[in-house]
């Protein structure tokens, strides 16, 4: 991994809470967030790209966390659980503009939308990023972020106004 134990400790202390909080925000409960946090760090540290070359480790870890968590909520088993009893309240500040019903609805749509659209939606609707920030995290252009959000919004409106409609996800 290229980091000794002391360096890993510094990285963990600096970014561990961030990754966990972000995973919890997307997945909705501590147990899944803990598991995702472990997986994010293992993936990141096992990556061929070292940390040293990263201008922003936070942005990089955001990207990995978003990708991993979106994949997880797309899992059929987890998808069922998300809007049942396991959805816990999120921390008050992170999504203060969203009601509990909105968060539940957002997670439901995230589980079924196209993965890249879902990732853009997490960045903008859940995290409150600007399109520019989302573009940096997702490594796409601002215009692409706009297009992804437009597709996500179309799908969300259709999905939530017609809950019986078939999934429209495209892997």
């Amino acid at each position: 991994m290229g980091l000794d134990r002391r360096q890993l400790r510094v990285l963990w202390d600096t970014h561990g809470p961030m990754v966990h909080r972000r995973a919890r925000r997307i997945l909705g409960n501590d147990a899944d967030a803990e598991d995702a946090t472990q997986e994010v760090f293992i993936r990141a540290l096992s990556s061929a790209d070292g940390f040293a070359e990263r201008a922003s480790v936070s942005t990089w870890l955001y990207r990995i966390t978003t990708h991993l968590c979106i994949n997880r909520i797309r899992d059929a088993r987890r998808r069922r659980e998300l809007w049942e009893e396991r959805v816990e309240p999120v921390e008050p500040h992170a999504t203060e503009a969203l009601s509990h019903a909105e968060i539940i609805a957002l997670r439901r749509v995230l589980a079924e939308a196209e993965p890249q659209c879902a990732q853009a939606a997490v960045c903008v609707y859940l995290d409150g990023m600007s399109h520019e920030e989302a573009a940096e995290v997702l490594e796409v252009s601002r215009r692409t972020v706009g297009n992804l959000l437009e597709r996500f919004a179309t799908f969300a409106r259709k999905r939530l106004s017609d809950p019986d409609s078939k999934e429209a996800s495209h892997d």
């Binding site: 991994m1 134990r5 890993l8 400790r9 963990w12 600096t14 970014h15 561990g16 809470p17 961030m18 966990h20 909080r21 972000r22 919890r24 925000r25 501590d30 147990a31 899944d32 803990e34 598991d35 946090t37 472990q38 760090f41 293992i42 540290l45 096992s46 201008a55 922003s56 480790v57 936070s58 942005t59 955001y62 921390e91 500040h93 992170a94 503009a97 969203l98 009601s99 019903a101 909105e102 968060i103 539940i104 609805a105 957002l106 960045c123 609707y125 859940l126 995290d127 409150g128 990023m129 600007s130 920030e133 995290v137 919004a153 969300a156 409106r157 939530l160 106004s161 809950p163």
Partner: protein, 252 residues
């Protein structure tokens, strides 16, 4: 359901989550940092949003967070080859059993197995943990991650008939019988050669380190004859040999 679409028109005031996280990590340039400083200064209550970013939330603070860190650190350490993992598993219990296995290593031979090659130690005995998968089973390598609900079966490879017992050793120091499954709390005679032990066990909800000790004894031996000597280690009576497989159990 239309009300739930409110997230599509969400307008955020102030810095995004990413910006605040980069602020805490010291990754912002001077201009962006100054902008966050001004935003914080405008409302003293906003400082709480920074403070909360510097620590794990309560479910992962303290020992829980340390356990998670330890699991990550272990997982990203340079991994020994499958060969070395197996040897480490064979020698980890220490004591007489471990010593006998180490001496026998000069005679290690390999034989094909269902998922690659697994070692057999001549003069000692082998212990395999198989985990059920969607399509069949896989051999569980010591040190790998396990999850509550995993279904495991055991296999031993004995050079001669022995009395076998498998003990589950949790990180809190508790020991319980994982095989035989008949409630006898004692070893059972197993014939020589590779033998799948009857029955399967399902891992419980507890997370953390757990070791499965396979114990091979010359005669009948009760589970109470074995005591914990430390993390992953047992005190083994004379006439018995042991092999441990380490499970790092995480939440499902």
């Amino acid at each position: 359901m239309t009300d739930s679409l409110g997230f599509l028109s969400r307008k955020t005031e102030g810095p995004s989550e990413l910006t605040l996280d980069r602020y805490v990590a010291g990754e912002l340039g001077d201009s962006a940092r100054a902008e966050v400083d001004r935003w914080l200064a405008a409302d003293p209550t906003r400082a709480a949003r920074i403070a909360e970013r510097r620590a794990f939330p309560s479910p992962l603070s303290g020992a829980r967070g340390e356990q998670l860190f330890a699991r990550i650190a272990t997982a990203v350490e340079p991994r020994p080859s499958r060969f070395m993992s197996w040897l480490r598993a064979l020698t980890s219990p220490g004591g007489v059993g471990g010593l006998v296995v180490v001496i026998a290593l000069a005679l290690v031979v390999t034989r094909p197995w269902e998922s690659g090659e697994v070692l057999r130690v001549k003069g000692g005995f082998g212990f395999l943990v198989h985990r059920k998968t969607a399509t069949g089973s896989e051999v569980f390598v010591s040190g790998d991650i396990a999850r509550p609900g995993d279904v495991l079966r055991f296999e031993v490879d004995l050079p001669e008939p022995r009395h076998v017992l498998v003990l589950s050793h949790e990180q809190q120091g508790t020991l319980s019988v994982a095989w035989p499954l008949d409630g006898s709390e004692s070893s059972r005679r197993v014939e020589a050669g590779p033998r799948a032990l009857d029955g399967a066990v399902e891992l419980d909800e507890a997370v953390g380190d757990e070791w499965l000790h396979a114990l091979s004894c010359a005669g009948p031996m009760p589970a109470s004859a074995f005591t914990v000597a430390g993390p992953g280690r047992l005190t083994v009576p004379d006439g018995c040999r042991s092999i441990a497989v380490h499970l790092r159990k995480v939440a499902p």
